[in-house]
């Protein structure tokens, strides 16, 4: 094993938060309901996890009305993309270490 293992970002490490950030990495923006459908999460849990990502500056939220219906859109920030990239790099490094053992 390498002497110093990389630390995994705890904000991204949560399974649902990781799934959300990965989903947002593949699209420009996504609606709350689409994210809910793709992850199978409950409204409450999804809202809480998205709030944590927003608090960390990894996603931004935009609320608007389309045809008089409220719509909540989430978009990944540059900081979020950088954090996900770093998380993947750390995971691969850890896996490399594990394989070496």
């Amino acid at each position: 094993m390498p002497d110093e293992l990389p630390e995994l970002n705890p904000v991204i490490h949560g399974k649902l938060r990781l799934a959300l950030l990965s989903l947002l990495a593949g699209v420009e923006e996504a609606e709350f309901t689409w994210l809910r459908n793709r992850t199978g999460a409950t409204d409450g849990n999804l809202g809480a996890q998205l709030a944590k990502l927003e608090e960390a500056g990894y996603v931004v939220v935009e609320k608007k009305f389309v045809l008089r219906k409220p719509q909540t859109l989430y978009r990944m920030t540059e900081a979020g993309r950088a954090a996900l990239t770093e998380y993947v790099r750390a995971l691969k490094q850890l896996l490399g270490g594990a394989i070496e053992v």
């Binding site: 995994l8 989903l23 990495a25 609606e31 689409w34 199978g40 996900l84 995971l91």
Partner: protein, 208 residues
């Protein structure tokens, strides 16, 4: 946390990331219906103009089809995330629609309208747009539509007026009606395979 994490869990995290990114990028838009709608619109315009209202038939039908497409797309897009690919395809068709509209309306109102030129322009532009779209989407079947439209454009240049009209009607049938229905069937199968229901196949990500 890091030191105690088993190797399988690390791999599961990587798999989750890959799966979710692919899920986000997966083409979720449905466009088959637009081909059918525009095919029907062309037929309506042709039938109407054959009754002697050519100057009115095409602008009214095309504007009505554009408005209908715009309304349906705006309603549906609210349910789907915007992707770069979706925007590229949408821009391509939008730009083609504006070009074709401006050109043909100008020809009609200036009195320079001629049926061979009309079919050649529509055929060439639809051929170009279908070809570009098929290359972006890597959809061979759509490239076949481009070939049919280009063939209709060439036929319009060399054939008689009736041959040109037959080529146009045949191209509309194959590339709009048949291809549109085929697209709708393919999209329907994809949606059923993806399991678009709220509690679908991604339960593994449901808990933080």
């Amino acid at each position: 946390m890091t030191e105690k994490m088993p190797e399988q869990e690390l791999k599961d995290r990587l798999n989750l990331i890959e799966t979710m990114i692919a899920e986000g990028r997966r083409k979720t838009e449905s466009w088959g219906w637009t081909f059918v709608l525009w095919g029907v619109a062309y037929y309506v315009a042709i039938a109407w103009s054959s009754c002697g209202h050519a100057r009115l038939a095409w602008p009214v039908t095309m504007i009505a089809a554009s408005v209908l497409t715009g309304v349906v797309v705006s309603v549906r897009s609210g349910r789907q995330p915007e992707t770069t690919m979706g925007r590229a395809i949408g821009s391509l068709w939008g730009a083609m629609g504006i070009s074709i509209f401006l050109l043909l309306m100008s020809l009609a109102w200036s009195g320079h309208y001629e049926s061979h030129t009309f079919v050649a322009i529509i055929g060439a532009m639809l051929g170009m747009t279908n070809a570009a779209s098929s290359m972006i989407l890597k959809w061979k079947m759509q490239f076949g539509c481009a070939l049919v439209w280009w063939a209709a454009a060439v036929a319009a240049c060399f054939g008689t007026e009736s041959q040109s009209s037959i080529a146009f009607l045949a191209a509309i049938f194959v590339c709009q009606i048949v291809f549109g229905i085929y697209g709708m069937v393919v999209e329907s199968h994809k949606r059923s395979r993806q399991g678009d229901n709220p509690r679908g196949s991604n339960q593994g990500a449901a808990h933080a």
